[in-house]
């Protein structure tokens, strides 16, 4: 039994004399009735199987295993940090908040390029002189052009129509 009045901050354990006095005092001057369910509660708790020693405690790990675990953990963290840095620095990110429209922007660019190409092609076709050496229409057009008053284009288009009507006169053969 503890004899001492061991100090610990504000409270200390009672000495035997103090304990005796306290018990006598409680016994003499009216005891409090504990709640009626208290005994059942205690018996219930006591009936619960005691936890075997070591159960619930952490498994003891030796120093070497702990070091390996620490190294593996450090590697994982370093890998994650590197991946994060890579994502931050190497992957292009639209800082304007339009990160989700990358596909649309690519498509728009392609359309624009197609438009430019189409315009260039159209200009090229329009600027090139029309030379139609095949087909009966072309032949007569050229003939008329030679004898006409410089209206080669009109004659050519007229005879082109005729050529189409006749089925291109075997020029494809």
């Amino acid at each position: 039994m503890r004899e001492e009045g061991r100090g610990n901050g504000l409270y200390r354990y009672l000495t035997d004399d103090e304990l005796e006095a306290l018990v006598a005092e409680v016994a003499d001057h009216g005891m409090l009735a504990p709640p009626t369910y208290l005994k059942d509660l205690i018996m219930e708790e006591a009936a619960k199987p005691a936890m075997p020693a070591g159960n619930g405690r952490k498994k003891k790990i030796d120093r070497k295993t702990a070091k390996i675990q620490l190294a593996v953990y450090s590697l994982k963290i370093a890998g994650a940090a590197a991946a994060a840095l890579f994502c931050l620095t190497m992957v292009p990110v639209d800082m304007g908040g339009n990160t989700g429209d990358a596909g649309n922007r690519r498509m728009e660019k392609e359309i624009e390029e197609d438009m430019v190409r189409y315009r260039e092609e159209s200009e090229r076709i329009l600027t090139e002189p029309v030379v139609q050496e095949d087909g009966i229409g072309s032949f007569f057009g050229n003939v008329l052009g030679i004898f006409g008053n410089g209206r080669e284009e009109d004659a050519s288009s007229l005879w082109n129509g005729i050529t189409e009507w006749f089925g291109n006169g075997g020029a494809e053969e």
């Binding site: 409270y11 200390r12 005092e25 016994a27 003499d28 369910y37 005994k39 708790e45 005691a50």
Partner: protein, 177 residues
């Protein structure tokens, strides 16, 4: 007296006998030390469970002194715990012990505690107010209450535990305020 196969009482039987004999004293000692009804209830429970655990190693003959020692030590540990500095400091505590000895306040302690409990019980919602009153003020057991109310004992037990939790909360709020 119930005895085990080897003619000796089992640990559970010894515990049961100890509770029957000393629960009032231990509860009162705990209450005297901590001044909190529900903390005293917990400490009484802990005291008996601790005694039960160490029953095999107990070689003394004075069970009463042993239990009271466990109870007071647990009470002091409780007071040392964080957040319970509102209770009297060491010197004040022992001074109060000396001053209260035999005083009319001391004599009426039980009545005072019961009255206070009754007022707390009245603040609970039905049916917990009636259940709490029956348990804490009228000191009735669960089976008695179940018989009187014509209810299943399990239902009453559940209601008692709920009422106890509500009272604890009320009590705690009041003490911290």
């Amino acid at each position: 007296m119930i005895v085990g196969q080897d003619g000796k009482r089992t640990k559970e039987e010894r515990l049961s006998a100890m509770i029957d004999t000393y629960q009032g004293l231990i509860f009162s000692v705990c209450y005297k030390v901590v001044g909190d009804y529900f903390a005293a209830e917990d400490l009484t429970q802990e005291t008996f469970l601790s005694a039960f655990k160490n029953l095999d190693t107990f070689e003394g003959t004075n069970e009463k002194a042993w239990l009271c020692r466990i109870a007071t030590n647990k009470g002091i540990d409780y007071l040392r715990g964080a957040g319970r500095r509102a209770v009297p400091t060491e010197d004040v505590f022992f001074e109060q012990q000396a001053e209260n000895r035999g005083s009319p306040e001391e004599i009426c302690l039980e009545e005072e505690v019961r009255e206070r409990l009754l007022s707390y019980c009245g603040r609970l919602r039905p049916p917990y107010n009636e259940i709490a009153k029956a348990v804490y003020y009228e000191e009735k057991k669960a089976d008695e209450i179940a018989r009187e109310r014509g209810e299943n004992i399990k239902t009453v037990q559940t209601q008692i535990y709920r009422a106890r939790d509500m009272l604890r909360k009320l009590y705690g709020k009041e003490r911290s305020a």
